[in-house]
């Protein structure tokens, strides 16, 4: 294993984990190639593919023109012809230019063709806010994609998932979209050498607690974990669930945790109206209503196009204090601040 500059031998950055995952895929399967904007000679807009162009050449690390619809569609076509492509889209906002191909083709062709064709394609893209890049580079639209039958939607938050979800996604005969939160690329954490694979089916408990469940994904996971620290100082034990897989949702893990803690806060950087958080909340209401001691709460992104100014962007994103306040209000309604 090679490690990114600055990383110690025991830790790895999220970015490097993504890079190693792609490198592994290119090494292990001659039918895998990666294409996207500036992934080759430039090394990737978030430097995830750095060095791969030199190692694997321009055929397998393929720079594309700024034609999201054409190169995403070409990924679907290549998958139909027997390849296992990885397509990188710079950011989720740009993926809207390829929405037709993702929704009308990738997600429908297996079904429309009566099972004659599969689309074993992986699309990776950056998502989320926090980098002060305003309203066309910062949104969290993965919840939209999680609406679409036929797609699997992944949101790796920890380095282990960044390192191993890709292989599982490539082994899936269906189109898989992987959302990498932009604020996570520089995170550095230990990678257990004993782990060589992860599942792409289940949510995972990242912290155990008995008083309230915090459900989050992506960068929201770390905000929820920080909130759990704040709550612990108040004597409230929060359980933190990392969704990991946004479609299909692992409802069982969510319900099991809620049945234990009887209170739940759902954290979602996406806008509240019509959000993934709304879907999770409704599932809990439908299937776990009688386990609840308090109404489910949501801490979502504020309903504004992402502003540039740092104080405004921070105010638009779910912060640990907001999450902790929502949880406190559920656990100690008399004293908690809403």
């Amino acid at each position: 294993m090679t490690l990114a500059a600055g990383a110690s031998s025991a830790t790895i950055t999220y970015r490097e984990a993504c890079r190693q995952a792609i490198r592994d895929a290119l090494l292990s399967d001659p039918k895998t190639f990666i294409m996207g904007e500036d992934i080759g000679r430039y090394g990737g807009c978030y430097a995830v593919t750095k060095g791969l162009f030199d190692e694997f050449g321009e055929e397998r690390v393929r720079d594309t023109p700024l034609s999201e619809s054409a190169f995403v569609g070409a990924g679907i076509g290549a998958a139909l012809s027997g390849m296992h492509p990885i397509v990188e889209i710079m950011t989720v906002n740009f993926s809207l230019l390829a929405l037709d191909q993702i929704v009308n083709n990738a997600a429908t062709i297996p079904y429309m063709s009566g099972g004659q064709f599969a689309v074993p394609l992986v699309i990776r893209m950056a998502t989320g806010g926090g980098r002060r890049v305003a309203a066309q580079h910062s949104h969290s639209l993965e919840g939209w994609y999680a609406h679409i039958p036929g797609l699997r939607i992944l949101a790796p938050a920890v380095v282990e998932d960044a390192r191993f979800m890709l292989a599982a996604a490539l082994a899936d005969p269906n189109p898989v979209l992987i959302f990498e939160h932009v604020m996570l690329y520089n995170i550095e954490a230990a990678l257990d050498p004993a782990v060589i694979a992860v599942d792409i089916d289940r949510a995972k408990r990242r912290r155990e607690g008995a008083d309230v469940t915090l459900i989050a994904y992506g960068n929201g996971l770390f905000r929820a974990l920080a909130a759990a620290d704040l709550l612990a100082a108040d004597g409230i034990a929060a359980e933190v669930i990392d969704l990991r897989v946004l479609r299909p949702l692992d409802t069982a893990t969510i319900l099991a945790s809620v049945a234990k803690t009887r209170r739940v806060v759902i954290v979602d950087e996406g806008w509240k109206s019509g959000s993934l958080a709304a879907e999770i909340g409704m599932r809990i209401a439908e299937e776990g209503f009688f386990d609840l001691d308090a109404p489910p709460r949501r801490v979502c992104g504020r309903e504004v196009p992402m502003p540039y100014a740092p104080h405004l962007e921070d105010a638009a994103l779910p912060q640990p204090a907001d999450i902790a306040a929502a949880a406190r209000a559920l656990v100690r309604p008399a004293t908690g601040r809403p």
């Binding site: 076509g77 290549a78 191909q101």
Partner: protein, 328 residues
């Protein structure tokens, strides 16, 4: 394959037979639509048969085809079985897509027929990708991509033309220019109505051909296919044709005159080719009758097959939303 069309007796009859099979198949579809056995949209190919028939003659069995939503003719000319095609139209599980696709979404893995795409322009990126995948896997194949002139209005057309040319991919772009995208006349939609010239902007060879002349289409397709197979990269073929019927089944056709339609009907591909064969003494009237009877018998058998079909159990509604494996 060779660029020359060998217009011997057998081939002449074959071309005429293919066009008649399509025409008669669709005439039967209209009956079944009026009887409410075929539902939804039904986009007829009446007047455009020479395009598919001519193009498919230049393709080999290993090649791939990406079709439009007006694709019954494309499917039949490609060799998709009429029985499974008709069963699909009737929504039966014996249909080529188990009744999941219907008229607009015909897929057939056996003939590498990749739909049946009803998003105008949406098939072009797929064709580029299939050609890319084939090329990367060392196959000496090409992908023929059908689309109407309306697709030229879409960004996906331009992105795909550029990508195919940039990467020198084996794609045959086939524009079926029938002059109307639904009710929108070409001249009202495009600043440059000479569609073949669009290829110039992508440094791609582009040729316009009389799409009502099956021999001209086949000949142009063979030349283009030869160039593609020789490694010359993609080619663009504009086939100038005309849709003699409504866009779909509900269309008052307020956007064009009856006279215009009648003028084109006289230039129709079957009238023209059959007329030429008869005038030149290359086919006897009884041979034409024989071809028609043969096509009608095939269609009758297809209808019988489809009507004897079974409905997929509703319990299977969610089957194939996701796949357990990649079909081989």
């Amino acid at each position: 394959m060779s660029a020359r069309v060998h217009l011997d007796h057998a081939h002449r009859h074959h071309l005429l037979r293919q066009m008649i099979r399509i025409r008669h198949f669709e005439a039967k579809c209209v009956e079944l639509y009026q009887a409410q056995k075929i539902l939804g949209f039904l986009h007829l190919y009446d007047g455009e048969e020479a395009v598919s028939v001519g193009i498919m003659e230049a393709l080999g069995p290993e090649d791939a085809v990406v079709a439009t939503y007006r694709e019954h003719g494309q499917a039949i000319a490609r060799g998709v079985g009429m029985d499974r095609l008709m069963a699909e139209m009737l929504g039966m599980q014996e249909g080529c897509c188990r009744g999941r696709g219907g008229s607009m979404h015909i897929f057939d893995a056996k003939t590498r027929f990749y739909g049946g795409n009803a998003i105008v322009g949406g098939g072009l990126p797929l064709a580029v990708g299939i050609a890319l995948g084939d090329k990367m896997q060392g196959r000496n194949t090409l992908t023929a991509c059908f689309f109407g002139e309306g697709a030229v209005d879409e960004g996906e057309f331009h992105e795909s033309m550029n990508l195919a040319a940039l990467w020198r991919l084996p794609v045959l772009f086939v524009c079926e220019n029938n002059l109307y995208s639904m009710g929108m006349a070409l001249a009202r939609a495009e600043a440059e109505t000479d569609i073949a010239r669009k290829a110039v902007g992508y440094r791609m060879p582009g040729v316009a051909v009389d799409g009502m002349d099956v021999v001209a289409v086949e000949s142009a397709a063979r030349r283009a296919v030869d160039d593609i197979r020789a490694g010359g990269g993609p080619q663009f073929l504009e086939c100038r044709t005309y849709r003699l019927r409504a866009h779909s089944m509900f269309d008052a056709q307020a956007y064009r005159s009856k006279e215009e339609i009648e003028t084109w009907r006289k230039k129709g591909p079957i009238v023209r080719f059959q007329g030429w064969l008869q005038d030149s003494g290359l086919i006897r009237p009884d041979e034409v009758t024989g071809i028609e009877a043969e096509a009608d018998a095939e269609i009758a058998a297809a209808v019988a097959f489809a009507e004897a079909g079974t409905l997929e159990p509703v319990e299977e509604l969610e089957r194939f939303v996701t796949m357990d494996r990649v079909p081989t």
